[in-house]
């Protein structure tokens, strides 16, 4: 009988990404409901010392696959290792982050194991021993609740920033195990030639807890300075609407929306964004939405928790000043 919940931890440059802890936290809740253990799978090189961190959030066991060829994510190497482990140990459920890595890995892993995958889930539960996953479809215009047939393991990816983190428990002990696997160079058909880190080292939009976004109402690229200033003050990442990206004011990586990034920050401040359906699709799972727009009829106000009708060139700098006082 397949047993236990696995999560695939995610690291970059040897640092665990936040989604890894969200996965452990959610897996802990599900596993407690099933009376089963949680294991985290950690791949990388010289990565073992990070295992304890996963334990604090609720992993009972961390299975570490340490190999130079696992330093940076590649589909071939990671799928090969995880599939071998899963075939040998038969977990009931495998959770991954709905990050670029997790989405790439999950589909390939699922096909190798001949099972289904529910991508980008925002809620997970266990019913009659099966994983039940809720995921946005049509860019969040509807939600599908799905389950699995004939799938061992049941694989799902979890949208970053959605699942609540457990309070880390420093006293929790964790069993760290060396994974048994073999990697044959002939299976490795892709190679990472270069890793390009964007200048500034800002938190990526998909992981940001706060986002300040600008739309066509910003008038031009230079004007984003007022958003940068607000963002710096509140440790936010700057995003943009597609109009802004199409106009070349901001890079494509900054685009929020159906054909940009899907984000779930705690706070999303939309400045000079009308709230087109494709934009809303990318940010409507934000926990608190603020809209600043001079048009009281702008659709963004229908989604906003706090709306300010006004000229953003006046409101945004005044907000920055006001926040300096309360911080």
């Amino acid at each position: 009988m397949a047993q236990g919940i696995w999560i695939v931890a995610e690291q970059r440059e040897g640092e665990l990404r936040k989604v890894s802890f969200e996965l452990v936290s959610e897996a802990r809740r599900l596993a407690d409901a099933m009376g089963q253990p949680v294991a985290a799978i950690l791949l990388g090189s010289n990565i073992k010392e990070k295992a304890a961190e996963l334990g604090k959030y609720g992993a009972d066991k961390v299975i570490v696959a340490d190999d130079d060829r696992l330093t940076t994510y590649t589909t071939d190497a990671y799928v090969s290792v995880i599939a071998q482990l899963a075939q040998a140990q038969e977990p009931a459920i495998i959770l991954l982050g709905a990050s670029v890595q997790g989405k790439d890995l999950s589909g390939r892993l699922a096909a190798r194991l001949g099972v289904g995958v529910a991508q980008d889930c925002v809620a997970l539960s266990i019913e009659d021993g099966n994983l039940v996953a809720k995921r946005p479809i049509y860019a969040g215009k509807a939600y599908a609740t799905v389950t699995y047939t004939d799938s061992v393991p049941q694989i799902a990816t979890a949208r970053p920033n959605v699942f609540e983190l457990n309070e880390p428990d420093e006293s929790r002990s964790v069993e760290v195990i060396d994974a048994e696997f073999s990697l044959d160079d002939s299976q490795l058909k892709t190679k990472v030639a270069e890793v390009i880190e964007e200048a500034g080292g800002k938190v990526d939009l998909t992981e940001a807890e706060r986002i300040v976004s600008g739309g066509r109402g910003m008038k031009g690229p230079e004007e984003f300075a007022i958003l940068e200033e607000l963002a710096d003050l509140i440790a936010a990442t700057v995003g943009a609407s597609r109009s802004v990206v199409d106009a070349g004011w901001r890079p494509h990586a900054d685009q929020v929306g159906q054909t940009g990034k899907v984000v779930s920050p705690n706070l999303y401040i939309a400045c000079g964004i009308s709230g087109a359906i494709q934009h809303l699709a990318g940010m409507s799972t934000s926990k608190l939405i603020v809209a600043i727009n001079k048009d009281p009829e702008a659709p963004i106000f229908q989604k906003a928790d706090y709306g300010v009708v006004g000229d953003l060139f006046e409101v945004v700098p005044a907000l920055t000043e006001a926040l300096k006082k309360v911080l």
Binding site: A111, V132, T145, V146, Y148, I196
Partner: protein, 264 residues
């Protein structure tokens, strides 16, 4: 260089989504069907590679007859031929089933590269590309924003978008690439292109033609089963921040964020 593009037809992104009475599907009347936006980028990239290296671009779609329109659009953009797999047994097929059908089409074709979209903007799965690459046993690079092919056409260098940057991945061909927006600016079909497309070959196949077992596809073969489709939860009505001047509104917003929402 022969390139295959897997193409999905989806509701236009402007579409209102209505849930069917059985709560398991969406109402498809009055929907405007279009080529999946990411697949437009895939078609465009295929055409650019063909323009540089020569060869043929073949479009493959799995779905009902209406998908012919999306395939014709790709042919009008400049692709050479199309294949549609249309079969009543395919109703309810999930990602893995779709990938199986695509793999069955592809096993008889010669190709150097397969291009897919990053994800379908209908079920937002982003699964079929990697499922397919695995079934075919070829390397994959997903979410690609820049593609370079070596002069001899043997190796691809793909810039894959990752959080906060990009990975440059090298893979030997044949490989499967999934296209992200920003890879290119897809062209529009020209009027002569549309005329020419009418005469380009578009084969329609059934799963029996492909030797696919009906039990592997459709609802019976699906590994993922939809229990229920629901509308998004309504957000609680928001608050408009009042004030005489922008300054007053900003001060009030700051205190709401700090004291009421306790978020800053």
């Amino acid at each position: 260089m022969n390139i295959l593009v897997c193409l999905k037809q989806v509701p236009d992104t402007e579409s209102q989504i209505k849930i069917a009475p059985d709560g398991k599907a969406i109402v498809t009347d009055n929907i405007k069907w279009v080529m999946n936006p990411y697949d437009e980028c895939a078609v465009e990239e295929a055409l650019r590679i063909k323009e540089k290296f020569g060869g043929e671009v073949t479009i493959i779609g799995v779905g009902p007859k209406r998908v012919t329109e999306a395939i014709r659009t790709a042919l009008a953009m400049g692709a050479d031929k199309g294949i549609l797999v249309d079969d009543p047994a395919l109703t309810g097929t999930d990602s893995l089933g779709t990938a199986r059908v695509l793999a069955a089409v592809i096993k008889d074709l010669e190709y150097d590269m397969i291009l897919c979209g990053k994800q379908g903007v209908d079920d937002d799965s982003a699964v079929v590309g990697s499922n397919l690459a695995e079934l075919l046993g070829i390397p994959q690079v997903s979410v690609v924003v820049k593609l370079e092919i070596s002069e001899d056409g043997s190796v691809v260098k793909a810039h894959k978008e990752v959080e906060g940057g990009a990975f440059v991945i090298e893979a030997a061909l044949p490989a499967l690439i999934t296209a992200q927006k920003g890879l290119n600016e897809p062209r529009y079909a020209s009027l002569p292109g549309i005329m020419k497309a009418k005469k380009k070959p578009l084969d329609v196949k059934t799963i029996a033609d492909l030797g696919v077992d009906a039990g592997e596809v459709g609802e019976s073969g699906a590994k993922i089963k939809v229990i229920q489709i629901t509308p998004p939860e309504e957000r609680a009505a928001g608050k408009m921040v009042e004030g005489e001047t922008p300054q007053e509104k900003a001060d009030k917003l700051a205190s709401l964020l700090h004291e009421e929402a306790k978020i800053i």
